[in-house]
Subunit: 241 residues, 2 copies
DNA sequence: ACAAAAGTGTTCAAATTACACCCATGG
DNA sequence: CCATGGGTGTAATTTGAACACTTTTGT
């Protein structure tokens, strides 16, 4: 208790320490994209001289009049031009020495965007897509943040239909399967995969075909959000451990 | 970008805003316990006059020389005397007006403790166990925090063997089943439940029986951590959505 | 015509569910 | 002896896994 008592700053008997307004908070957005069959992450060359030449995920300090969700939304809007992206809090990182300029606590967000989206204008050439598998060292603790978000991504795509955010609006079943396989590093049997996905009722037949492919074109589907919303509440109780 | 530019405090062209060390960070520990067949949460009467008479979960401000994990660990140690409890970060809450004294961002932790643990000494009568189902309004945004942690608990006990933290070291299968049922609000078939749990290999037969029960005594088991560690890595790929 | 992937069913194994009787203990 | 829950097995159903051939398109 000694540290706590040492920080008390009035006479009121308090059970806990008093606020110490000496922290800065930031958000870091791990933005995943999928291009040419490869899972990618959007990185920027670090601002700080201490990390010169190293890449980091997109972040910014939280402003005093915004919450974390808004801050991360702002970062994505400013960087990519997108405004309706999938964005979700993952974890908060708080190692004492994680930021050279002082005590900065950062909350990591995961975002899934469609790289081919027309709104997505990345002109800044200090901002680039990197294949996730090629990223080794990064500025700050961003490698840890990236790895954590990648684990979260792997888990979440199996629990919720968020993977569609990485594809264009209309996609073939092959696109979808290859994307699952790229992220999870496993291979699915094509027939079983199709059966399973159709069974969810989440695929809307767009009654269109691929074009320009050097083989028999596949049908195009889109994510049927309405159908998913209806089934969503289903209680899953497996005790799978 | 206007807000960001407004906060720049030097001449260096920066892509992002500069740190604003005007925040306080706290941790809030949602401590779950299980007693008399009821899931409970450990709450304390609020410190603040604004929330007089209302209950809140156990929290404290993060000190400038500790990270969030250490801060939450400290809170639990100081409050309950326990030192080796299950403790895991859940989510960070950051609404601008969540704390009346200023901009306090809090990170919620979930903890599972054994209420009957001998180390657990709760003398302070402003600190009490409440049945989770009875908690309605709370101080700050703590009801939201509690609800979030309860959802997380429900999900996690189905994915990882953390539920054993709520039971005494030796327990009967009945204890375990009732606890699952209490948390998930569903009922299991007793035979299937036993089959499933035995199949995990995580139950170690303690070759002891219950005593003092007004019916045929059941065998006592403990959680076989070693057996679990071996099986843990098994790749689960279900695409269950 | 060839290469490449689309589309499509069945069979087998495994997991899950539903279900009922006798047993041991305390009161 | 009665009430309460302990302990056990089997059959039916559902789900998941493995597997091959024909079709369509571009080159």
């Amino acid at each position: 208790m000694s540290e706590v008592n040492a920080l008390k700053n009035d006479d009121t008997p308090k059970r806990v320490g008093s606020p110490v307004f000496q922290f800065s908070n930031s958000v870091d957005c791990v933005i995943f994209g999928y291009d040419a069959g490869v899972l990618k992450v959007l990185l920027i060359k670090s601002d700080l001289p201490q990390f010169f030449g190293q890449w980091s995920v997109l972040g910014d300090h939280v402003l005093v009049d915004e919450d974390l969700d808004r801050a991360s939304y702002r970062v994505l809007r400013e960087r990519t031009g997108l405004t309706n992206m999938f964005l979700e809090q993952v974890k908060t990182f708080s190692a004492i020495d994680r930021h050279p300029n002082g005590r900065v606590i950062t909350t990591a967000y995961i975002s899934l965007v469609n790289v081919k989206d027309h709104q997505l204008n990345i002109l800044d050439n200090e901002l680039q897509w990197h294949p996730v598998a090629d990223v080794t060292t990064m500025a700050f603790d961003h490698k840890l943040i990236l790895d954590t978000c990648l684990s979260t991504l792997r888990k979440k795509i199996q629990e919720e239909p968020i993977i569609f955010n990485l594809l264009e609006k209309k996609f073939s079943l092959r696109d979808l399967q290859l994307l699952f396989e790229e992220i999870l590093h496993i291979e699915f049997d094509r027939r079983n995969f199709r059966k399973k996905l159709f069974a969810t009722g989440m695929l809307k037949d767009e009654h269109e075909m691929e074009s320009g492919v050097p083989h028999r074109p596949g049908k195009l589907y889109s994510f049927n959000k309405e159908a998913f919303e209806k089934v969503k509440g289903k209680s899953f109780v497996g005790l799978q451990f």
